[in-house]
Symmetry: C2
């Protein structure tokens, strides 16, 4: 199964649009995790074991590993998901972007070294920096469109003719870059109206939606404006809101509860759409 098929299977069979972001921060780990050389993997494994039946994907964020010299624990965490919970796609959130010959190396990093199912990519360099990723036909390439942060507006909202840059980005990707049907977009949950405009432009292409939880995104608005024609189509991510739901030794159970609540809130909202 390729990335999109894995995702669709999780959406329909496990009935979940929730993605858990793995952004390990040892300063926020509960005491029981300790501070040994494997503590990041130990923490991730507990979160994964507590949530695997409830998610459509996991999204490890590479900076949280790279800043701590923990590439081995990133690889170990992804391998653990593949071996223990096959079928759950793993999105490596690295927002890479470079010219063609270098983009090939980044694609190799994501798909061969780490065996991720999908990777986030910055579109600013244009198609020749993206094609080395999309050439991996079974893998997903999730391109930044309208990001969740406040200063997303600095450039993404600049008007090109009568429409904002992020709409040009969405249209170009949907109409010109998606030859292998393996592209998706990143649109923050902090911008539900923009999400609706983007959904109208791209058909049923999947959208990764960060910003729920710690960033204060709007879950109801996200669903109302963002679902595809099958009332799926979204990868709704929460990282800190799930991982650090409790600082105590019950952190994994607390994480599970947050995901259960998200799934319930999503189901209730979708039923009313």
């Amino acid at each position: 199964m390729n990335f999109i098929e894995k995702l669709q299977k999780r959406w329909t069979e496990n009935k979940t649009l929730v993605c858990v972001g793995l952004d390990p921060d040892p300063s926020r780990f509960p005491e029981i995790i300790g501070d040994g050389p494997d503590s990041i993997f130990t923490f991730n494994r507990a979160i994964i074991d507590a949530t695997a039946d409830l998610v459509c994907a996991y999204k490890p964020q590479i900076a949280h590993f790279a800043a701590l010299n923990a590439e081995d624990q990133l690889k170990e965490s992804i391998a653990y998901i593949h071996s223990e919970y096959p079928g759950i796609p793993v999105i490596l959130d690295s927002k890479r972007g470079d010219i063609g010959s270098t983009a090939e190396r980044y694609a190799r990093e994501a798909f061969e070294r780490y065996e991720a199912d999908a990777v986030t990519v910055n579109p600013y360099l244009g198609i020749d920096g993206v094609k080395p990723f999309t050439d991996y036909k079974d893998k997903g390439v999730i391109l930044l469109c309208r990001t969740s942060n406040p200063s997303a507006k600095d450039f993404q909202d600049l008007l090109v003719g009568d429409k904002p840059l992020y709409e040009c980005v969405a249209e170009t990707i949907a109409n010109e870059w998606n030859e292998n049907n393996n592209c998706a977009l990143v649109v923050g949950a902090t911008w539900p109206e923009q999400l609706g405009k983007i959904r109208n432009l791209i058909g049923d292409m999947p959208i990764l939606v960060p910003g729920i939880g710690a960033q204060g995104g709007d879950l109801e608005g996200t669903l109302k404006h963002g679902v595809d024609s099958n009332k799926n189509g979204l990868i709704i991510n929460s990282s800190r809101g799930v991982l650090y739901a409790s600082k105590e030794n019950d952190f994994a159970a607390a994480a599970r509860n947050v995901v259960l609540q998200m799934n319930q809130a999503i189901a209730n909202t979708i039923a009313a759409i």
Copy 2:
């Protein structure tokens, strides 16, 4: 000395605008390097020793290490430059870009883990994804503006009002983001006219210019349109053209010759401006 001061000292005292890009590719290494676990560092060290008196900076490109599980050899290469040739600034070319809390991790990766003097960053996410880098006041933050690749035009040339996006990016960085005077821009040598327009917008801010050598950039046009008011201001990078000037065991001497020729060609052109 901070990054900009180090750079200015190399420009004026060593009279060189040339930066050597460290993009190690073991399939192109000469036989003498072998294929041992330290081969990437061994190759880099030979290139560094052969060119250190002739360059204003080194620019290791992180994907070439990350694809090969060679973070340790990246760290070792940067540490070697700092210990053996103090005063030569090292630019970590990683084109990072993410929301604030994650950008902090990327800044830590570049400046603390690898001890780079500067890092390349993608501006698409806006100022809150860049500030965690510029907050390191002694470090340089080199933002993508008009990249060297053919499809740079896909988004960077879109007209915002009457000017292309890359000019908006240049102006915003120069006028709003550069509070700590530690920003610089990336503009490809493949676009000398655009480089001239950008130079007019940003004053004497340094510009990293990739695309000379294997990518066929225009050295004469780059200098004519790109130098600052002191006839410096450029970090003219060549990677593959220097590293792989010879496939034989004379590769380091051949690399030195290419850099010598670049310095000579630059001096001749600048003398005529």
